[in-house]
Amino acid sequence: MSNTLKHRSTPARPHLGVHILLILGAVVMFSPFIWEMLTSIRSYQDSIAVPPKLFAPIVLDNYAAVFTSTPFGPQLMNSVVMTLLRTLGQVLFCTAAGFAFARLRFPGRNVIFAVLLSALMLPTELLLLSQFQIIQSLGLVNSMAALVLPSVVSAFGVFLMRQFFMQLPEDVLEAARIDGANAFQIFFRIAMPLATNGMLALGILTAIWSWNDLLWPLIVNSDQDKMPLSVGLASLSGQYITNYPVLMAGSLLASIPMLILFIAFQRSMIAGIAAGAVKG
């Protein structure tokens, strides 16, 4: 093999083979999205044609139908409010707790932290039964509070933020202490501004996870008007005739907010995932 030779010389098209493989993979990854888009702009008749047509006359009515013939509007609102509240809660509370566990000294700190560690190990899906009973006993079934409450804090968030605060150089905080700043001042004025990257990563991960959450909302909010989009769209497909063009239009609209968030903040998000990996 003339491998060393190949390395030294610069080919006209660098990494052609690599690109071909990656493009093939990208086609597999992306074609469902293209089919989703194409379906969303064709008529119902064209959507069930056998064999399927690659191209069909463009019909834009499906996007209007999403809003007029399904409860998309209210459900979109539910998704937005639920996602915002969960994200705000997690970023605020988990950042505060992460800082306290990483940087403050108080009795029982390590014991409490170890107990929370066990919460991280528990797959929350398996606790749904009891969580549902708690929401039920509070009279909150079919409400925004039911969607938000169990996920307003998370053990993952505390760990992620603790990880960030552990990396802060001790000198900075020590200097502030010697200057007489109290713990709250150190947290709000010194530590938090230095942890914005971590907070951003946590916020994006929480937002995407909340928006996409299916099982909990499915269990707790069965009223059409109280569901987020994840559940609402799924319930449409269960109906007798599946109108795929309208469903695909709805699916596309419902996916777009998080796709935009991801594309805009992909660097922070990927950093957050990598930081989470370090934790494991």
């Binding site: 990854m29 108080f106 749904l128 708690i134 307003v152 007489g180 099982l215 990927i270 494991g280």
Partner: protein, 323 residues
């Protein structure tokens, strides 16, 4: 606290900090610096501790308790000892779900090498359009699972689905994927792989970037080819990340619910061949209101996840290289 702060106000800057850092501070002095922290500490952790206590730790204890009871339809319970567990281990539906989940998990593990290859390709030095590729491969991870489930349900449709018409081009008469008990689990597994591939690639890419370049330079000097370098340097040095990806993938696969609910669903004749443990848990707990049985399933699932993870940690000594 604010009082202490104002009295200490004049002592600012490096001048006051210097003598303290010059010699190691005594315990007393150090403690004095942390005065007032217990109160602040408790205040800062309070919302999280209360939230996790009420919605994670208490439910964990309650689920354990539920698993030994028969739950009433609306309220009340009777203690029935280990009867739920006896029922589970005599229930062919449970075993079916267990096998389905195991097969799905197997597919997920089998797909890890695909993620490694993609990550290695993406890690090519000086590769153009890296960000674009990464975004495309990652899109399914951030896409609403409901949308993923619906679009694939449409693609898999036996009559007017795109997949079968593509297969027809090469002369294959495709089945009705999602309602044929022979194919439904494969079909769901493929989507599970498709929708997590990007996540694994991102983790593996981070792992690849932490392999020192000097190894590759040495390999090149020794005249090792690309394939050889991949198997003798990349794969072994990537094993810690691969191990982590396996742990995450297996736990994720063992908790599969969304895709089965969205693509297969309750009325499907092939549900028996696609029902996962978590789907069975949902069915028993929330559609058949058999809370005690569902709680017992939750507990058994927790034990399975724990044991599988433990076994993986035990096995890692055999194949994971730490430096």
């Amino acid at each position: 606290m604010s009082l202490r702060q104002t009295t200490n106000e004049p002592m600012t800057g490096a001048a006051s900090a210097a003598p303290v850092t010059a010699r190691p501070p005594s315990w007393k002095r150090k403690y004095a610096l942390h005065r007032g922290e217990p109160l602040a500490g408790f205040a800062l952790i309070a919302p999280t501790v209360i939230g996790l206590g009420v919605f994670i730790l208490w439910p964990a204890a309650q689920t354990l308790f539920f698993s030994f009871t028969k739950q009433g339809t609306f309220s009340g319970y009777t203690w029935i000892g280990i009867q739920n567990f006896v029922d589970i281990f005599g229930d062919p539906v449970f075993y079916g779900a267990l096998i389905n989940t195991a097969v799905l998990t197997g597919f997920t593990i089998a797909a890890v090498p695909i993620a490694i290859v993609c990550a290695v390709l993406l890690n090519t030095e000086g590769l153009r359009a890296l960000t674009l590729y990464r975004v495309i491969y990652f899109l399914p991870v951030v896409t609403l699972p409901t949308a993923v489930g619906l679009v694939w349900k449409y693609l898999y449709n036996g009559d007017y689905g795109l997949l079968n018409s593509a297969l027809a081009v090469v002369g294959i008469d495709g089945p009705s994927w999602l309602s044929d008990s022979r194919f439904v689990l494969v079909a769901v597994s493929m989507v599970a792989i498709w929708s997590t591939l990007g996540y694994n690639i991102v983790l593996l890419l981070a792992g690849l970037q932490s392999i020192p370049k000097s190894y590759y330079e040495a390999a090149e000097l020794d005249g090792a080819g690309k394939i050889r370098t991949f198997f003798t340097i990349t794969v072994p040095l990537l094993t810690p990340t691969t191990f982590f990806v396996m742990i995450i993938s297996v736990i994720g696969a063992l908790k599969t619910f969304d895709l089965v609910y969205l693509m297969v669903g309750a009325d499907n004749p092939a549900l028996g061949s696609a029902r996962t443990i978590l789907y069975l848990f949902y069915e028993r707990g929330f559609t058949q209101f058999n809370g005690g049985y569902a709680a017992a399933i939750a507990l058994v699932t927790l034990v399975i996840i724990g044991v599988v993870t433990l076994v993986q940690f035990r096995l890692q000594k055999k194949w994971v290289h730490y430096e």
